[in-house]
Amino acid sequence: MLKIRNLESGYGKIKVLKHVSMHVDPGEIVTIIGANGAGKTTLLSTIAGLVKASSGAAEFKGTNILKTKAAVIPGLGCVMVPEGRQVFATMTVEENLLLGGHPLQKQGKQVMTELLEHQYELFAILRDRKKQLAGTLSGGEQQMLAMGRALMSRPSLVMMDEPSTGLAPLIVKEIFQIIVRLRDEGNTVLLVEQNAKAALGIADRGYVLETGKIIVQGPAEDLLANQDVQRAYLGREKVEEK
């Protein structure tokens, strides 16, 4: 689905990503974990076209998307749930969702209504709140809205940037359960997380990003068991207790 080779990217002269190679296959949850400033968000933003890559290649369903404009990429089926939700605060929940369906809107009202209905089934709370301004939702509800909004374009790949940021642990659990459900319904998810334990707990495979390089990769269980990963990202003592 997504194949990245030797990707280099950054802001101006500052190179954040150095020769990153990775791939995502259909139907799996792949997670990228790493500390603050490791380049996780830069990687997603580069794929989404918001940050320009300086070299390397990124193929999405066989086409190179590094030169593609950010606004075109969702139409290809690759959509991002940005960090910190970024819902449109002054628009209602339903308007936010409809905006997420922007690439498909030309297919007509019927399609839009079906998609809306589907999101309301997935996130029941959004139905109750559909006429409410998105800025008045709780953090967890905004996260669900951001996910629903992304799903409105019927993506083949959903990229999520730190969905756990600023949410209560209970809500994080709920969000992660929804991500699993998305996968079970046939979606492909690329999940970037600082909360390594939670992310590896639901992912099929994982990559560990450190200062712009991928240092470890493999099935999620292997990463959970990996000594280095445990020390650096999981808090070793806690793992030993279990």
């Binding site: 989404a48 606004a71 969702p74 959509v79 819902v87 002054t90 628009m91």
Partner: protein, 358 residues
């Protein structure tokens, strides 16, 4: 269709004002109402750009002036010295030229108002595209300054070029015959007719914009207003939508300029002045930024008062003051105060939900 219905009450008010003034023998008010309608046409266009797409422009008087000046110059400046050049003979063979005599009985060859109007509006649109592509990459203060710069350039050009009459502007602009028997002109006999021309034009503009903001495009614009990047990530081509809105509002301004110039029979450099642009921005702010009806209402009321000379020589100062007061006390516009106030009265509670707040 719904939008058409929402316009009907306004149409009734328009007719009501006409009947009222004719009954009370105060038909002279219609002159200012006509002018206010044209200025409001510019203002509702600017409202969509500022309030919905979130892009400020301090240069819209420039687009108004491009429309007004070009149509004025083309319909008054004689082309006789250039007769025989390919361009003029091309225009002539297309039937776009009109010959006649000026005040002093000299032969005159000018462009017909219809052709001049189309040329003027198209020119404004092209300039908006050329200016808009680089300028709309800027945000906030920087965008304000860049558009301000554009406005100043147009003002200075109008003042400096002999073709545009320098400080005197252009006068003796002929009537704009829209259809046989229907013409935009300042003749007293055409006052009622012109009142309706202006308002029908404004209502058409209003219906178009109401439809626009309620569509996929409108949602995209509000998304851009919220966050450029997030909208981009949703698949909204932000650069294109911003440019289209900028051009659309410039076209509204240019059309207003063309019509008002024919109605006034002339145009002067003050129409291109920076204070005019500031005034338009102030009126959109008073109306509530993302509130087309508010912008329309305030556009009519404030322009009418200003044109009636209520503010005297403090005219510009009043608009500056309005801008400050609104920003301080009612950043969501005059109408938002009323809504909240009325809600509080209705429910008799101090704490009311923040319905008006955005």
């Amino acid at each position: 269709m719904k939008k058409l219905l929402s316009i009907l009450p306004l149409l009734a008010v328009v007719i009501g004002v006409h009947l009222l003034t004719s009954a009370t023998d105060t038909m002279y008010y219609l002159t200012q109402m006509t002018m206010s309608a044209y200025y409001s046409l510019l203002i509702i266009g600017l409202c969509v750009l500022m309030g919905y797409a979130g892009q400020i422009s301090l240069g819209h008087a420039g687009f108004f002036a491009i429309g007004g000046y070009l149509s004025a110059a083309l319909t008054t400046r004689s082309l006789i010295p250039y007769q025989g050049t390919t361009l003029v003979s091309l225009l002539d063979s297309a039937g776009l030229l009109l010959s006649g005599h000026d005040l002093y009985g000299e032969a005159l060859l000018v462009v017909t108002p219809w052709a001049a109007c189309i040329i003027a509006v198209l020119t404004a649109a092209c300039i908006a595209v050329v200016i808009g592509i680089p300028v709309l990459k800027l945000k906030g203060h920087y965008l304000a300054m860049a558009t301000l710069g554009f406005g100043i350039i147009i003002y200075r050009l109008a003042l400096a070029m002999e073709y545009f009459g320098e400080a005197d502007g252009i006068s003796e602009v002929p009537a704009f015959v829209l259809l046989p028997g229907v013409s935009v002109s300042g003749n007293f006999s055409d006052r009622v007719q012109n009142y309706y021309i202006a308002w029908v034009l404004l209502l058409i503009g209003m219906v178009l914009l109401l439809n626009l903001i309620d569509s996929r495009v409108g949602r995209a614009l509000r998304g851009i207003h919220g966050s450029d990047e997030a909208a981009d990530a949703m698949g909204v081509n932000t650069a294109r939508f911003k440019l289209q809105t900028f051009v659309l509002s410039a076209v509204f301004a240019a059309i207003a300029g063309v019509f008002l110039t024919h109605y006034n029979g002339g145009i002067g450099p003050s129409e291109a002045g920076v204070m005019k642009s500031v005034r338009y921005v102030a009126i959109v702010a008073v109306g509530g930024m993302a509130h087309l009806w508010g912008a329309l209402l305030m556009g009519i009321v404030l322009n009418f008062l200003s044109l009636r000379g209520i503010f005297g020589s403090y005219d510009d100062a009043v608009f500056g003051l309005i801008l400050i007061v609104i920003m301080l006390f009612a950043p969501n516009g005059i109408l938002s105060i009323n809504v909240r106030h009325r809600l509080r009265q209705l429910l008799g509670r101090g704490k009311q939900d923040r319905a008006g707040e955005v």
